[in-house]
């Protein structure tokens, strides 16, 4: 079972009633798998802040609740989290946060453990799928017993690895009668001042729990060296050393225990801490006066594996070889038929500055389109263009756009658009509406008209929404039509008014979108000018001086046909 599927199973078995999340790799499947259980109410919220507050509401009403997000999602959810630490919970509440060391699919490599420390909430870190499920149930017990939200920290190699899991029955929890408790839940200063000492006291109790809890495992064998680690690093340590070294595996990674660490340190001659990303455990050891070796041997960057550890300890890595020929890199690319391609070509052709956002369309930054100028975080394109244009004035307004997907716009682009309308910049906002949350693997969102289970739901009308915000110039274009796109972009840039262009066409990978026959190159007509190559379609290559279209990839979007000056690209007959 995938780590994320095991988490979902844990939610089911723990009797969880409400799950609200926003998709984000590598956390997405937690909520998708949870939605397969009829006993759990699941939803995609517009963003992680909303999701966390939904889970808070469910907890306030007495139910066990959850939300899942990627590491940067916790930045968005940080506001409710920090005060939830003060209110504590009604029904147990757990946040699942998936870090992405090595940035397989992320814009930074932040270490979520800092949040648990800063918000003063307990954090658990499982090391495989079986533990992931068990830790979910432990987290709900801790949440209710210690009156606190709990964070479970995942990472790509736990979330997206499959290992075996034993299934148990669901624990049914009866919803208690609702009782008003303003001293606990209204965090105005007078009440919050009284809750803060509770938080500090709770941390001490949780630290005491860590001293005895089976979440932390001590494997005392050889006295020569001992390693303290958690999560996926435990697996790498065991892979390299087996049972030959002593290991303290931490499952409760915040607050960290003191006594068992001191005891473990005194048992071994030399103590090492192996942890990916930041030296959190190592700093704790320094604080309690225990000498150890950590980041002086290991990197602050990226993922580790068994060879990272072998190399650090001077153990030879298995013999291996590599080719002398340099293998060209294969970066991810926009898919054949991607509706964003035609629009990005227009931006690229006219050398328009484009502030980008988070989603598949970040790929428009790559060769040969080079269509983007920035990517920061969810929603930053819309807020950013306003600042860019306020700084650059009319000159920049006439050659700058921002691009943001439909889901990202709902997540946190809307507020930026409100700012554009309210504070008056003549910015041109392009919403790339492909009718789905694409990059994370096709999740529904408030604009698609369907909920997480695929049932019909209310759909936000983007045109009306933008108009009601105060944008008068709102228009829709088909990104497969290069001329229409070009005309719209050039016109809106020239007008001294804020405007929104909605580039609308569903993602080519959606099941209901049917591919057309692949186009083919008439080699007699093709002059090998490579105009069709400018759109960066992976289905097009040059073979023997002529354009060649790979029929296994082409979906017949016809964008390349519009690029060809000699009409050499013809519609297929299949």
């Amino acid at each position: 079972m995938l780590g994320n599927e095991a988490i979902a199973r844990g939610l089911y078995e723990a009797g969880v009633k409400v799950v609200s999340s926003y998709p984000g790799t590598p956390s997405t499947e937690i909520t998708e798998f949870a939605a397969k259980y009829d006993e759990i109410y699941c939803e995609w919220a517009p963003n992680e802040k909303v999701a966390t507050e939904v889970a808070f509401g469910a907890s306030l009403r007495g139910a066990r609740s959850a939300c899942a997000m990627k590491h940067v999602g916790l930045n968005v959810a940080a506001d409710p989290l920090f005060t939830l630490s003060y209110t504590g919970v009604g029904g147990g509440m757990v946040l699942f946060v998936a870090d992405d060391p090595a940035m397989h699919s992320s814009q930074n490599e932040q270490d979520s453990r800092h949040y648990a420390i800063a918000a003063k909430v307990p954090m658990l870190e499982p090391a495989d799928s079986s533990e992931a499920k068990d830790f979910v149930k432990a987290a709900y017990r801790i949440s209710e017993e210690y009156d606190t939200p709990v964070i479970i920290r995942m990472c790509t190699r736990i979330a997206h690895s499959q290992s075996s899991v034993e299934l148990c029955e669901r624990e049914e929890i009866t919803l208690p009668e609702y009782k008003k408790n303003p001293q606990k839940y209204i965090m105005a200063p007078a009440n919050a001042i009284r809750r803060h000492p509770f938080v500090e006291e709770r941390t001490k109790k949780l630290q005491a729990l860590g001293e005895t809890s089976s979440l932390n495992k001590i494997e005392k064998t050889g006295k020569e060296m001992g390693i303290i680690c958690s999560g996926t690093c435990y697996q790498y340590v065991k892979e390299v050393f087996g049972d030959s070294v002593s290991v303290l595996k931490l499952g409760l990674v915040n607050p960290l225990p003191v006594e068992i660490i001191k005891d473990f340190a005194s048992y071994v001659d030399k103590l090492y801490v192996i942890e990916e990303l930041d030296p959190i455990i190592e700093t704790h050891l320094n604080n309690i006066g225990i000498k150890c070796v950590g980041k002086e041997m290991f990197s602050l960057l990226g993922e580790y594996n068994q060879n990272t550890i072998r190399k650090a300890f001077g153990i030879p890595v298995p013999e291996n070889t590599a080719t002398d020929t340099a293998i060209p890199i294969r970066p991810p690319v926009m898919c054949p038929g991607c509706p964003h391609r035609g629009l990005f070509y227009t931006l690229s052709k006219h050398k328009i500055t484009a502030l980008g956002d988070i989603g598949c369309y970040t790929l428009g930054s790559a060769a040969p389109l080079f269509a983007l100028d920035s990517t920061l975080c969810m929603g930053a394109s819309v807020s950013g263009i306003h600042g860019f244009n306020k700084a650059g004035g009319e000159e920049s307004e006439k050659k700058t756009v921002c691009v943001i997907g439909d889901s990202t716009f709902m997540h946190s682009g809307m507020t930026g658009l409100v700012n554009i309308a309210y504070n008056g910049s003549n910015s041109t906002v392009i919403i790339l509406d492909n009718s789905i949350t694409g990059m994370t693997g096709h999740q529904q969102n408030p604009t698609t008209g369907y909920n997480i289970k695929g049932e019909p739901a209310a759909a936000v009308n983007l045109e009306e929404l933008c108009r009601s915000i105060g944008i008068e110039r709102v228009r829709v274009v088909d990104p497969y039509n290069l001329k229409e796109c070009e005309d719209a972009i050039l016109e809106e840039l020239s007008v001294a008014a804020p405007s929104v262009i909605i580039s609308r066409r569903p993602c080519m990978l959606l099941k209901y979108v049917k591919a057309k026959s692949p186009v083919t190159v008439n080699e007699d007509k093709c002059v090998g000018c490579k105009m069709c190559m400018k759109i960066g379609c992976p289905a097009i290559s040059i073979k023997n001086g002529k354009a060649h279209i790979d029929f296994t990839q082409c979906v017949g979007c016809d964008v390349c046909t519009q690029m060809c000056k000699v009409n050499a690209i013809e519609k297929g007959d299949r």
Binding site: T25, P26, T28, E29, H104, S105, D128, T156, R157, I158, H160, S161, Q162, S163, S164, T232, Q235, Y236, K238, E239, N305, Q306, N307, T308, V317, P318, E319, N320, T321, A322, T323, D324, T325, A326, I327, P328, I329, R330, P331, P332, V333, M334, C335, C360, T362, L363, A366, A367, P368, M439, T440, G441, K530, M533, G536, P538, S541, I542, D550, T552
Partner: protein, 190 residues
């Protein structure tokens, strides 16, 4: 049994996740401790993708690093070469000879390497190269390249043929089972 390592490499969208799912389910049913590690998201969009399958009595790490892979199954020609350093000294490479140009080749900033299979052999690797795309087309669906290659993988493992077919039935959508069984047989017998 000591841990065995299979790496599946290819281009995002070629169906390597289904192949790893099939292997994972088959090996679990065979009673092994199995770990399968995948990467989803950004890298799936036409990028180079790699999936690790590890099985044995007790598997710890979910990933395979340099010099550890018993078998590398490559869905595309140069992807095998990209991960050659992960191959064990006496490891085997099963490679689909299909060429998919990466973006630097499409834009002309790099050339698609030639003679890469000979070079891997010269480096001492055992390379079993097959045209899985052609066989997939013969089976009736160009998308069954993944199952053709699993058929080839089956040659090198001591698991009965019928068990593989059961795993296909279990992991493939009912309407594609027949085509995939055909694809599997073509890969096995080529």
């Amino acid at each position: 049994m000591s841990t065995k390592n299979i790496m599946i490499v290819g281009v995002g969208g070629q169906g390597s996740l289904l192949a790893s799912k099939l292997l994972g389910s088959l090996l679990t049913d065979e009673g092994f401790d199995v770990k399968v590690s995948e990467v989803h998201g950004m890298s799936q969009r036409g990028g180079s993708v790699v999936t690790y399958v590890r099985f044995g009595d007790k598997v710890y790490s979910p990933v395979i690093s340099e010099g550890e892979a018993d078998v590398i199954v490559s869905f595309e020609k140069i992807e095998a070469a990209r991960y050659l350093a992960c191959l064990k000294k006496d490891g085997k490479i099963i490679v689909n000879t299909q060429e998919i140009d990466p973006m630097p080749v499409i834009t002309g900033s790099a050339e698609y390497p030639s003679g890469i299979i000979d070079e891997m052999r010269a480096k001492g690797a055992f390379v079993d190269a097959i045209d899985a795309l052609e066989l997939a087309k013969q089976a009736g669906n160009a998308k069954s390249v993944n199952i053709v290659l699993m058929g080839r993988v089956a040659k090198y493992f001591d698991i009965p043929y019928e068990k593989w077919l059961l795993a296909i039935e279990k992991n493939v959508k009912p309407q594609f089972v027949e085509i995939n069984k055909k694809a599997f047989a073509l890969g096995y017998n080529v």
